[in-house]
């Protein structure tokens, strides 16, 4: 399957800094979604951006989508220790299932 990649694999920052994670994919999409996973738990849906949207905000989260480059970015502003988690992008291709990447591990230190 065309999974695409998240970049970086791991990111370590200080509280208060911004965190940026990137997601690339290979085939056209209907929408792209971002999920968070705290250690050893299930995934939590954060935000969805449709293929005809370029930017979306939700609280401290900002997602961009560039369909010409087949890439998306998730920005978390003013990070907190509680943001420490793994973040996954997931592509919806057609009307089928989601395809997840391998994730970015974010560590936010106090």
């Amino acid at each position: 399957s065309q999974q695409g990649e998240e970049d970086p694999q791991a990111l370590s920052i200080q509280e208060g800094e911004n965190a940026t994670m990137n997601c690339s994919y290979k085939t056209s999409i209907n929408n792209l979604q971002w999920y968070r996973q705290n250690s050893g738990r299930g995934l939590v849906h954060l935000i969805l951006i449709r293929s005809n949207e370029r930017e979306k905000h939700s609280g401290r989260l900002r997602v961009t989508l560039d369909t010409s480059k087949k890439s998306s970015s998730l920005l978390i502003t003013a990070s907190r220790a509680a943001d420490t988690a793994s973040y996954f992008c997931a592509r919806a291709m057609g009307y089928s299932t989601l395809t997840f990447g391998k994730g970015t591990m974010l560590l936010v230190s106090p």
Binding site: N31, G40, Y95, S96, T99
Partner: protein
């Protein structure tokens, strides 16, 4: 609060046993999914279901089967557990197909160890 509930957080089974992983959602969602998650491999889709008594193979269905007799319940069955099925298993559901703009709600996961 809407929920997807997986019956066990941790499970230890012996090689060759038949294993049932249960998943129940209380949101009247049409679609249900089973993924497994392994380090370095991310989430891989095992089986999914768009309706009661319907099932579709995902990317890695070998060694697994599923059952969806009621809308709210989706069971994953390991017919004869093997050590390479040691993994974190995640159940998810969605109101409609994701292409229409719906996200997934995940359960907390079942960490299965086959010895």
């Amino acid at each position: 609060d809407v929920k997807v509930t997986q019956s066990s957080r941790y499970l230890v089974k012996r090689t060759g046993e038949k294993v049932f992983l249960e998943c129940v959602q209380d949101m009247d969602h049409e679609n249900m999914f089973w993924y497994r998650q392994d380090p370095g491999l991310g989430l891989r889709l095992i089986y999914f279901s768009y309706d009661v008594k319907m099932k579709e193979k995902g990317d890695i269905p070998e060694g697994y089967s599923v059952s969806r007799e009621k809308k709210e319940r989706f069971s994953l069955i390991l017919e004869s557990a093997s050590t390479n099925q040691t993994s974190m298993y995640l159940c998810a559901s969605s109101f409609r197909r994701t292409g229409y703009g719906y996200g997934y709600t995940f359960g907390s996961g079942t960490r299965l160890t086959v010895v």
